[in-house]
């Protein structure tokens, strides 16, 4: 773990420990994927779980019950997209399919395994090491931490049940050393679950990534690491027969008076949340989605919170450092967690070669003394 470092951040940004629930908006927007076939019509009455469109890989379902009012262009994490506009009828009607009705106590093991594989792409086996990963890598982001803090009792319950079914070798819950509240709560409860261990990990950037966590914990390659947010979805499906309709997101940054965690309905417009609950302290603000290191800058106008959105960071605008020519210090190579040499990214052949191996973690740009944005090279652009 000698390569992973702790990022230097503004310690004054403190998130309120109270979660605000905003999961019943008037309207939601479901962006439509490319080459999707739409399965509903305008003005059609739909329920939670009604299939909205399908692609070759998946079927998108509705997170609310209501009426389809048409199409609207919205901003998403992947850019501008057309979205289905759905007006909420606040009746929370669910489309219940017979096969969705699950009871963990009498569900055959092979069926459960298949269900987890199909729904969550989890390859669960007997005698595995299981790790519940509640580590947030991105600075200022605490979503996984809050999932654990909010649902720790449910998580312990389901982990215990899964352990009985799959006879796991070890079950470990990983939390960062900075998550004092989580550590305290888990310490109180773990006495009732002797098979579950708590592991407090240092505040290192990227330690939340499976490959680094496995190395840190000396785990075998086939060990199963589940993020807290994913365990919440699993819990909802197999214990409460509920599909994913809402999620936790953190809205934080130095341009906000009270950084807060929200429980929101998928498809909600970000502006609605900002206008109703948050105060932005300055006019010149930059918004970043999913972190300052691996995320990207966004335009919040008509921005929709989709499943992929985990955090929104509102930072006061700062003068951008113009990148200077590379001074050949080699520190980017030294710091790269996957042993690439960002200094060689100037060579397009090399850039193309490592495109998939690169984690896009941003450490090279973070450390670069001349403020070079190496992402430009990966995109095939020129920086110098």
């Amino acid at each position: 773990m000698e390569k992973l470092i702790e990022l230097v951040k503004n310690e004054n940004i403190v998130v309120s420990s109270k979660i605000i629930s905003y999961d019943n908006p008037d309207t939601i927007y479901i962006p439509i994927a490319k080459q999707a076939s739409i399965l509903i019509k305008k003005n059609e009455q739909i329920k939670i779980g009604t299939p909205l469109y399908k692609t070759n890989y998946y079927v998108e379902t509705s997170p609310i019950s209501g009426i389809i009012s048409g199409l609207k262009a919205v901003n998403t994490i992947d850019g501008l997209k057309n979205a289905l506009e759905i007006h909420n009828d606040f009746q929370e009607k669910k489309l219940i399919k017979s096969q969705v009705k699950i009871n963990l106590n009498n569900l055959p093991k092979d069926k459960l395994t298949k269900l987890l594989e199909l729904q969550f792409k989890i390859n669960i086996k007997n005698n595995q090491d299981l790790v519940l990963n509640a580590i947030d890598d991105e600075p200022y982001v605490l979503t996984e931490n809050f999932y654990l803090l909010t649902y720790y009792e449910e998580f312990l319950d389901i982990l215990d049940k899964l352990a009985k079914i799959y006879n796991f070798k070890n079950i470990t819950i990983c939390v960062k050393s900075s998550s004092g509240e989580n550590i305290h709560k888990l310490m109180e409860c773990l006495g009732m679950y002797p098979n579950i261990k708590l592991k407090i990990v240092p505040n290192l950037y990227l330690l939340g990534k499976d490959i680094f966590l496995k190395k840190y914990l000396n785990l075998e390659n086939d060990s199963l690491i589940i993020k807290a947010s994913l365990l919440y979805d699993i819990y909802n499906l197999i214990k409460r027969n509920r599909q994913k309709t809402d999620k936790l997101i953190i809205i934080t940054g130095d341009a906000l008076t009270t950084p807060t965690i929200f429980k929101v309905r998928i498809g909600l417009k970000l502006e609605e949340l900002l206008n109703n609950y948050l105060t932005i302290t300055t006019k010149d603000v930059d918004f970043y989605v999913n972190g300052l290191m691996m995320g990207k800058k966004i335009n919040i106008k008509d921005f929709v919170i989709t499943e992929e959105v985990e955090s929104i960071i509102c930072m006061q605008k700062r003068p951008e450092e113009a990148p200077k020519p590379c001074i050949n210090c080699g520190i980017c190579t030294e710091i790269c967690p996957v042993n690439l040499s960002p200094i060689l990214l100037k060579n397009p052949t090399y850039a193309k070669k490592v495109q998939n191996k690169c984690l896009k973690c941003g450490l090279c740009s973070y450390i670069c003394p001349t403020h070079i944005n190496f992402n430009d090279y990966l995109k095939g652009g020129e920086n110098e």
Binding site: K9, R318, L344, V354, C361, L363, P369, N373, N375
Partner: protein, 294 residues
């Protein structure tokens, strides 16, 4: 991927330059003491001569500034390189010729670097250009006290900085502090400095024990070789960029410094750095292979 100006490691290129200044200033002060104040208070020089070290410092600051303005670059790094070169010249350097040679040397190297992407160690190259120009005059590294053997210094005094050498590069004691200051900065290529110094010291010890060459002890305790290796050899931009390459480069530099110092006691080190810097493309090609075959 990190493209936000709000999150960056708190240090950058500017802080490295500041560390260089912090490491260099005590040496400049000691240089003024050794080659000015000490001689003046022992009635070895007149008041006018006391100002000569300061004259060289001011001239090099001005030339660094002019070069930076001419090539539209940041002034601090250019002044720094000019000061580093000046720290290595003798007190007996011709005060009229030196500014011309320093300006011309820096101008030529800077022009070649910017125009033709000519990658060569600036400080050592300019230092050699200066040597060639100044050789036209009588050139000695001894100040008046050293010429007259006035103080009879022992090895400990040489370690403190009283040995012969350049204007501000003789104090090994201050250089150790300078190396610590520089090593605390993440961007300083300490591997080059450490590996070259270690190689040089080991070879010198071998020379002392195997060939009974006791004159090498004086070289070991004097700071001017280490000054060149720390401030010129470990140049951040003109040196290999991978850890392995830095080790190899440091080793080559230490090795060539040892042999060339035997040939030319005071100037060999600059030729050693220059010759070593010619191996950088080969070293980089060798160390890059591992990554290019990823």
């Amino acid at each position: 991927m990190n493209n936000s100006p709000v999150l960056h490691y708190p240090k950058d290129y500017r802080t490295l330059i500041n560390s260089y200044y912090l490491a260099l200033i005590p040496l400049l002060i000691f240089g003024f003491y050794k080659n000015g104040l000490l001689l003046y208070f022992n009635n070895l020089i007149k008041f006018k001569m006391l100002l000569i070290p300061l004259y060289f410092y001011i001239i090099s600051i001005l030339i660094g500034f002019i070069i930076a303005k001419f090539f539209k670059e940041e002034t601090k790094p250019n002044i720094l390189i000019s000061l580093i070169i000046t720290s290595t010249i003798s007190l007996n350097t011709n005060i009229y010729m030196y500014p011309i040679i320093l300006f011309t040397g820096l101008f030529i190297v800077k022009y070649l670097t910017l125009r033709f992407n000519f990658k060569i160690n600036t400080a050592s190259t300019v230092r050699i250009i200066a040597l060639l120009g100044l050789l036209l005059n009588s050139y000695s590294y001894l100040n008046i006290a050293e010429k007259l053997n006035k103080f009879n210094y022992n090895l400990a005094d040489i370690f403190i900085g009283h040995g012969p050498g350049g204007l501000a590069n003789t104090s090994l004691l201050i250089l150790i502090i300078s190396l610590i200051i520089l090593s605390l900065n993440k961007y300083y290529k300490k591997i080059i400095a450490y590996s070259s110094i270690t190689t040089f010291i080991i070879l010198n010890f071998l020379g002392i024990f195997l060939f009974k060459n006791t004159s090498l002890i004086n070289i070991l305790c004097n700071g001017y070789i280490y000054f060149a290796l720390i401030f010129m050899g470990a140049d951040i931009s003109i040196s290999p960029h991978h850890t392995k390459g830095m080790f190899i480069y440091g080793f080559i530099m230490g090795l060539s410094a040892f042999f060339l110092t035997l040939i030319s006691k005071y100037e060999g080190i600059y030729f050693a750095i220059l010759i070593s810097s010619l191996t950088i493309p080969i070293i980089n090609k060798f160390t890059n292979q591992k990554y290019l075959q990823t």
